[in-house]
């Protein structure tokens, strides 16, 4: 006969304002099975928990019901609490009289009656609780980092330094990501490549890090501690063992195509490295544009290669690896400004994006660091920077703020004026979001020391007239429209997730928001985790952010991984489905309906030694959703902690009250 203790919480005034908690505790005393009932202001607090433990000992309670907030908040708290008092932690039930009662009702009488009913149901369920135990699950102590930008690089380095092996997978031919494209970084104006390349080299030389470039994650299965990942390493067409990085091949390749790294402002060859400091410094053959690959005569690179490293027939390599944790660091892209009609549908050559301007400024960029107009290569005398292009706009599909544009626009204006003091720089802005360390001071310098003209207002239209570009904006502080005849216009375009972010999320089994940014588990308290255990987020793939935040988040993700790997094993979640194999007829319905592919049909020993099949649940994969329980025709699969009998007893308790 169960001995149930009921503990009703006031939750300050959160519950007590609407529910007469003392009456609930009083009524609970009369519920069959209850031998002790009390109320207290804050059950989850230290004195509250002490009260629970003392009551367990004093009244020899063997089941506990806590009537308070949602189990999502404090179920683990009370499980730990009763475990400390010697009970199996799965013998506590929570009656949610806050989110399900006091927070949604106003009628005190009715709410109190409802709370009593909820407690009654919880007691009925608790009486049928039985002890549950967690199993040990092994952890593969090897991490996978998807994305080789600064986020992925930082995460990989931190995990590797903690002593664990890491595989870093990068889709482009080199690690480095967006940061490698930048010229200088705000607010210190450090050269991006100068501070990044040492980290890139550290990655390459770290004994714990394996870098796979020109590679993509194709399929992910498994669960925390035990992921199986299939990675496709695309054929470079170059033997990495033989290549010395001398560069002869790409200096002589006859094919020229627009260079993605230069954001289309410059060219590369069909065999190329994306930038001079590439890691690995091994070129890649772009088979789509390679003459030989398209059936035309060539072979120049092979003829010239001093080490015979060119391997035209190289094939993709598919690698399947086991990993215990995955860090997603796939970064972002810039919104394509050909979508904005009022700025020319991308057809005005002298209207470029912020990232394109970054490439112009960069000394190893397409113009060797000289700012010139793309149309006629003349240096501009008047440059207009337009902030918030596509961001903060329902009209253009991004209501959010892209966070970094105010700062990089100020940086662009400052660097422009530094290089060309006689050039006029105008910045059309709506607000200045300079909330990082040193950021506000940086913007003030741009305006006061370097003389950039900041005009508060958006730009309605940009068009070409002759060889100049007319910018029609407004100065709302002056209360006038403002038109500027410019030579070059730089648009601070919105940041967006990568085009295939949603597809990657599907492969990983994680969720995205309406814009396809990856969803964190909790925006305030769990910014580097996702709802699925074992997968972590780092960098702008979660939401626009600057480099300091990216690096911090990457280290945060790495520490989670290191924390996971520091455990000897994982403990499985015991509230999962289990099959009564003796009753199962192996119809396969549960296998079909399980969303996590956690059930399979296995051979079991039948009566008299005969062999038969039955369903069996993989304890590591099962999430305890209960779909199989609903689908089983023979009622021979049940959910521990939420058995059919328990649920029916709750309904009976409510109906017969």
């Amino acid at each position: 006969m169960a001995r149930v203790g009921v503990f009703v919480c006031w939750c300050g005034s959160n519950i007590a304002r609407t529910v007469d908690v003392q009456r609930v505790a009083e009524a609970a005393r009369r519920i069959p099975g209850v031998v002790f009932s009390t109320d207290y202001k804050y059950m989850c607090s230290e004195p509250g928990q002490t009260m629970v433990r003392d009551a367990i000992r004093e009244h020899r309670l063997d089941r506990v019901v806590v009537a308070s907030c949602s189990p999502r908040l404090h179920e683990p708290t009370f499980q730990r609490c009763i475990a400390e008092a010697g009970l199996n932690p799965y013998l506590v039930e929570m009656a949610n009289i806050r989110e399900h009662c006091s927070w949604v009702h106003q009628d005190r009488e009715a709410a109190t009656e409802k709370a009593i009913d909820l407690v009654r149901m919880a007691v009925a369920k608790a009486r049928r609780d039985f002890p549950l135990f967690r199993n040990e699950i092994p952890i593969t102590k090897r991490a996978l980092v998807i994305g080789g930008g600064v986020a992925g690089i930082q995460a990989a380095l931190d995990i590797a330094d903690a002593g664990y092996p890491v595989t870093l997978v990068e889709r482009t031919p080199s690690i480095g990501g967006r940061m490698a494209q930048y010229d200088k970084t705000f607010p210190t104006l450090d050269c991006a490549a100068c501070i990044l390349t040492p980290k890139m080299v550290d990655c390459a030389s770290h004994p714990n890090i394996t870098i796979l470039t020109y590679a993509e994650v194709e399929e992910v299965s498994g669960f925390v501690g035990n992921f199986t990942v299939r990675i496709r390493r695309r054929a470079r067409g170059v033997d990495m063992e033989k290549c010395t990085g001398c560069g002869v091949c790409y200096s002589k390749c006859p094919v020229k195509v627009p260079n993605e790294f230069e954001e289309g402002m410059g060219e590369r060859r069909a065999i190329y490295v994306p930038f001079p400091q590439a890691v690995p410094n091994v070129p890649v053959i772009d088979r789509q544009h390679c003459r030989l690959n398209n059936g035309l005569k060539c072979g120049v690179c092979q003829k010239l290669c001093p080490t015979g490293a060119i391997a035209y027939d190289q094939e993709d390599e598919v690698i399947t690896g086991q990993f215990g944790a995955i860090v997603v660091a796939t970064g972002f892209k810039m919104w394509d400004h050909s979508q904005i009609g009022e700025y020319g549908y991308g057809g005005i050559p002298d209207v470029i994006s912020g990232l394109q301007f970054e490439r112009l400024m960069n000394a190893s960029g397409p113009t060797e660091g000289k700012i010139v107009r793309p149309s006629d290569h003349r240096p501009p005398k008047t440059v207009v920077f337009v902030a918030c292009v596509g961001s903060r706009s329902e009209n253009h599909g991004h209501e959010y703020c892209s966070k970094v544009c105010c700062m990089y626009t100020a940086k662009h204006a400052l660097l422009l004026k530094e290089k060309y003091p006689d050039t006029q720089a105008y910045v059309f802005y709506m607000d200045i979001r300079a909330n990082g360390k040193g950021y506000e001071e940086f913007v003030r310098r741009t305006i006061e020391e370097y003389g950039a003209h900041y005009i508060r207002g958006r730009v309605s239209r940009i068009y070409r007239h002759g060889d100049r570009v007319v910018v029609k904006g407004a100065d709302t502080l002056l209360g006038r429209p403002v038109e500027i005849d410019a030579d070059l216009v730089v648009l601070a375009t919105a940041m967006e997730p990568q085009d295939d972010a949603k597809e990657l999320a599907r492969r990983l089994g994680i969720s995205t928001d309406q814009h396809n940014w990856f969803s964190e588990a909790h925006p305030k308290l769990k910014p580097v985790e996702v709802l699925s255990s074992g997968i972590y987020l780092a960098g702008a793939c979660q939401y626009p952010k600057d480099i300091p935040d990216t690096v911090a988040q990457a280290s945060g993700a790495a520490s989670k991984v290191a924390g996971l790997f520091s455990k000897p094993h994982l403990l499985s979640e015991p509230m999962i489905a289990s099959v009564r194999e003796e009753d199962c007829v192996a119809c396969g319905q549960c296998v079909r309906v399980c969303p996590f592919s956690a059930i399979e049909l296995v051979d079991v020993n039948g009566k008299n030694g005969a062999s038969r099949r039955a369903a069996r649940v993989n304890e590591g994969l099962c999430h305890g959703c209960g779909t199989c329980v609903a689908g089983c025709r023979g009622s021979c699969i049940d959910l521990r902690g939420f058995t059919n009998a328990q649920v029916l007893s709750e309904i009976d308790a409510l109906a017969l009250a």
Binding site: G341, E342, Y345, R464, H465, G466, V470
Partner: protein, 302 residues
């Protein structure tokens, strides 16, 4: 694409008076292309900008009466040559579709059934999208031989894009340009395709209209155009009737013929009477007629 196409036809107040040549040319061109236009019997003024400035419900109701009349004709689409009338009928139609209580109220006021099945179409859209460039090209007898044309769409053919449900690129529409190409002309690239001419301020603040019209005409000239083509009687009035005073006030001395797109089509298709339409303009448009194909030079004088 074969067979006759039939549309209800809503000329609007101007086409019976100050924009007579638009009406004449539209009917002639449609007839020649096998498009039958049936004028909506007893149509009323759409209310233009004055009605909705006075009372929103009035603006919708005036437009809605015409849509109800189109439904009564048993027709589904009404071709509207004037851009402003088209905008009123289309936007009102959209509002009636989106707001059930508004539709009920208007139905009650009209005392007529109004299902919402009639759809307003700009005549330009009917010609370019329904008839199509192919058929138009086939009907051209006197190609415009590289005549440089500034295609002026004005405000109300494409804005507001969501309410009109337009397929056009709102900031750089292409239908007039396609049409001009089909006629053998060369549409110029210019940035003032949809800049406002000053519209209804024509009488009350002519000074504003002069400034705006001059800007449009100057840009057309700067971009190499030999003429401007448009699809709205008010744009025509501002750019044609008021051209001399506008350019004078801007200190400019040039003249730029302005035509309705249907007139340009009539010229290229060699329709009789095309020259007569142009004589109704204020700005001499004879330079355009002289550009027609040399081989086809017939009785039409320069």
């Amino acid at each position: 694409m074969d067979g006759e196409r039939v549309y209800a036809y809503y000329p609007g107040c101007s086409l019976h008076a100050t924009a007579k040549e638009y009406d004449l040319s539209a009917r002639a061109v449609c007839s020649a292309l096998g498009v039958e236009l049936r004028e909506v019997p007893d149509w009323n003024c759409c209310g233009a900008s004055s009605a909705h400035a006075r009372d929103h419900l009035l603006g919708v109701a005036l437009a809605a009466r015409n849509l109800a009349l189109v439904e009564e004709m048993g027709m589904r689409e009404v071709a509207v040559p004037c851009a402003a009338c088209y905008n009123r009928l289309a936007v009102a139609g959209r509002e009636l579709q989106d707001d059930g209580s508004l539709a009920a109220e208007v139905r009650e006021m009209l005392g007529r059934p109004l299902e919402g099945s009639a759809k307003a179409r700009a005549l330009l859209d009917v010609v370019v999208r329904d008839v199509g460039a192919e058929r138009i090209r086939d009907a051209v007898k006197r190609p415009l031989e590289g005549l440089k044309v500034a295609c002026y769409y004005g405000c109300l053919l494409v804005r507001p894009p969501r309410a009109l449900g337009t397929e056009e690129r709102v900031e750089d529409p292409q239908s007039l340009d396609e049409l001009v190409r089909a006629l053998g002309g060369e549409p110029v690239e210019w940035p003032h395709k949809t800049e406002c001419c000053g519209a209804g301020l024509s009488l009350a603040r002519t000074d504003v209209v002069r400034t705006l019209s001059a800007n449009i005409l100057k840009m057309a000239r700067d971009c190499g155009a030999g003429c401007v083509v448009c699809a709205c009687p008010l744009c025509m009035t501002n750019l044609d009737m008021r051209q001399a005073e506008s350019l004078k006030a801007a200190g400019e001395d040039f003249s730029m013929p302005v035509l309705y797109f249907t007139e340009l089509m009539g010229l290229a298709m060699g329709l009789p009477g095309a020259g007569r339409w142009l004589k109704m303009h204020f700005v001499d448009a004879s330079a355009v007629t002289c550009r027609e194909g040399a081989a086809a030079r017939q009785e039409e004088p320069c």
